[in-house]
């Protein structure tokens, strides 16, 4: 448990990291980035919290039950999106051309319109959720295991 100043600064700073991570996830289909990269940014924020507060403190907020539910929902959304295109084939991008997220960008260089990409932004969000929940559970479990207790509720 580091000093009070470090803990408050980390609290404030965590918001910026989460917003930046969400930006990378949400704009995965426009600018470099995507589910995995944005998720990793947010997990680096979680590790920062772990360093500032000790693992017992963090375990209260990020309990094992919350993280495993988040991870399972992320995984289920991802595979549900993959299954949804089963009409044509398993991983078919069924949202391209439809009003939901389906606008086709002008071919060639263009300023980039967020309402494009069909299933891809949704998959980015699902994978981002999964990466955040999964990797922070691993980091928390390793920290707790070395200090004696375990993650189980």
């Amino acid at each position: 448990m580091l000093s009070k100043i470090v803990r408050t600064v980390t609290n404030e700073f965590m918001l910026f990291i989460v917003v930046f991570g969400l930006y990378i996830i949400a704009h995965g289909h426009l600018t470099p980035g995507g589910g995995f990269q944005g998720g990793a940014v947010i997990v680096s924020g979680v590790v920062m919290l772990l360093v500032a507060f000790n693992s017992q403190e963090l375990k209260k907020t990020l309990s094992e039950r919350v993280l495993s539910i988040m991870e399972s929902t992320g995984a289920l959304i991802f595979i549900a999106l993959a299954f949804a295109g089963i009409g044509a084939a398993f991983f078919y991008n069924f949202l391209v051309g439809t009003p939901i997220l389906g606008r086709i960008p002008a071919t060639g260089p263009n300023p980039g319109d967020i309402w494009t990409g069909g299933v891809i932004p949704l998959m980015n969000l699902a994978v981002g959720l999964k990466v955040v929940a999964g990797l922070s559970a691993v980091v928390l479990a390793l920290a707790l295991f070395s200090s004696g207790e375990e993650m189980e509720e």
């Binding site: 039950r65 399972s72 289920l76 595979i79 993959a82 084939a89 398993f90 991983f91 078919y92 991008n93």
Partner: protein, 523 residues
């Protein structure tokens, strides 16, 4: 029903994945609901595999392009190279699929009671389902990088399951060795995939086989492929990790891990026959495989003779039985060049090797499960400490006898049928090989009777007086495999003609595999 058949290759992989993601939330609700989910999903996958197999035996190779407007569209308009990932299921892949579906169903039923008293069961079944999905992905995919991804899934879930009993030091040791070997093998395989991608700019096996010019880089890539995948099957120079890992895993996980090494062996055959085919100088590669198979057979059985730990004893036998398969298919590969020798004994050698995969995939998991049953009741794996268990554990005794007779190749049972097919064809190729193979089979029989004697017969030891028979699910799990062995023993001809020969022809016939990809283009 027709839609189910067209989508069945991807459903067979995706349903265990879906069930794995669901196991954790449902497992919180209650153990019963989770067990029902696991067994139901594996039973449905078995059903899908059977209807897919029927469809493939009727009208040939089954193609599934992921993400295209229609599953059969392999070459999108205007492109001469397949863009998306294509699952290509031919008779050989579905042959491995049948084995894997049956053994994983039996192992899952077996683990219902074998794991009843362990903690962390939710995650155990999640990893079990992921391993099932991983191995199906390896078997069905027609894409090299996809093969690497599913190889890794099967390896990681296998390693975590090997180290399941974290209270034993050697369990975690075994898991660590397995994950190190798998990681190194996967990365070396990936290096080979990179080499092929650099030259032909494609990752699809069919397209690469068509565009292959067998340059020196391709030879380097072939050596990397063979080196990495044969490590995973426990070939002789690098087999020391195999017994260490397979001894400490829970019995049903070892039963499934044996089949994952079969899947790696299938990947080697796919690369040698379908990817390289006649372009590689088959005789040298064939001879290398035959010699390594011979060495594996011999070293495996000699190391097994003086083992005291029953699981380690059976792991060494698993290595030596793999030698038979390597030898059988290696001989077929060696004569791939001249069609006349191929017709006389080459094709029989490959059929013998593949039939031996089927038999080994039934009696080896059965033997591991009987060893698990002994461990379940006596708490020890040391043969010296066991004795006279035949009195109380009747069914396990019968199942053990079936497994032993089959592995030793005693005439009525199926082990003999495939070994005889291998002896007969390998003898025409080179008599020395057949002689060594028979010698190894005799040593196998000797060592198994010794193990049988020390575990089951003899006076009833005082401390095992009250040992009861193993609970029902374990007997059902072992019963499925025993029934498979008996069925194959009664109708070997039927099995060979209906299942093994189409698989052999699918393996040899590279043109059909390539045409499945290149011929399937629609605008």
């Amino acid at each position: 029903m027709a839609a189910l058949i067209t989508h069945s290759p991807i459903l067979i992989i995706a349903i265990p994945l879906l069930a794995a993601f669901l196991t954790l939330p449902i497992g919180r609700a209650g153990g019963k609901a989770r067990n029902v989910l696991v067994i139901a999903s594996l039973a449905f996958v078995e059903f899908l595999v059977i209807i897919l197999a029927r469809d493939i035996y009727l009208n040939g190779i089954h193609i599934y392009t992921l993400g295209a407007t229609s599953p059969e569209l392999t070459l999108p308009g205007g492109a001469m190279v397949p863009i998306r990932i294509i699952l290509e299921v031919d008779a050989m892949s579905i042959f491995m699929g049948i084995i894997w579906a049956t053994v994983s169903l039996a192992a899952a039923i077996y683990s219902l009671s074998h794991m009843a008293r362990e903690t962390g069961q939710n995650r155990f079944y999640t990893l079990l389902l992921l391993m099932v999905a991983g191995c199906f992905g390896m078997i069905f995919t027609g894409d090299l990088f996809n093969l690497f991804v599913f190889l890794e899934i099967a390896s990681i879930s296998g390693a975590a399951l090997i180290a399941f009993r974290t209270r034993f030091a050697d369990a975690v040791e075994g898991g660590f060795k397995y994950i190190v070997i798998s990681a190194v093998a996967g990365l070396i395989f990936l290096f080979g995939v990179g080499l092929l991608y650099a030259q032909y700019n494609s990752l699809n096996i069919g397209f690469l086989a068509n565009a292959m010019q067998y340059s020196t880089l391709d030879i380097i890539a072939l050596t990397l492929f063979l080196m990495s995948l044969t490590i995973k099957t426990g070939m002789v120079p690098l087999h020391m990790w195999y017994p260490d890992s397979y001894t400490v895993a829970p019995a049903n996980i070892t039963a499934m891990l044996v089949i994952t090494s079969h899947a790696c062996m299938y990947a080697v055959f796919r690369i040698c026959f379908s990817l390289y085919g006649i372009t590689l100088d088959a005789t040298t590669v064939g001879w290398i495989i035959v010699i390594i198979g011979l060495l594996t057979m011999f070293v495996g059985v000699t190391m097994a003779v003086f083992q005291t730990d029953v699981m380690r004893f059976m792991s060494y036998h698993a290595i030596s039985q793999m030698g038979y398969m390597w030898m059988g298919v290696g001989v077929g590969l060696a004569v791939l060049g001249n069609p006349e020798a191929l017709a006389t004994y080459g094709r029989d050698a490959i059929s013998g090797g593949i039939f031996h995969i089927l038999n080994h995939a039934m009696y080896k998991p059965l033997l591991f499960m009987t060893a698990g049953a002994l461990f379940h009741r006596t708490g020890t794996r040391d043969l010296n400490k066991m004795g006279g268990l035949g009195h109380n554990m009747k069914f396990t005794l019968i199942l053990y006898i079936i497994g032993t007779l089959s592995i030793a190749g005693i005439p009525p049972l199926n082990g003999f049928a495939s070994k005889f097919l291998i002896y007969e064809s390998v003898y025409q190729f080179n008599p020395v090989l057949a002689v060594v193979a028979m010698l190894v089979s005799i040593i196998t029989l000797a060592s198994f009777t010794k193990a049988f004697q020390s575990a089951f017969t003899g006076p009833q030891l005082p401390e095992y007086k009250d040992v009861k028979e193993v609970p029902k699910p374990m007997l059902i799990g072992m019963g499925i495999l025993a029934a498979g062995i008996i069925f194959t023993s009664i109708f070997p001809g039927l099995i060979v003609e209906r299942i093994v020969n189409p698989a052999t022809d699918a393996l040899i016939n590279q043109a059909a595999y390539v045409n499945g990809i290149m011929g399937g283009g629609m605008p």
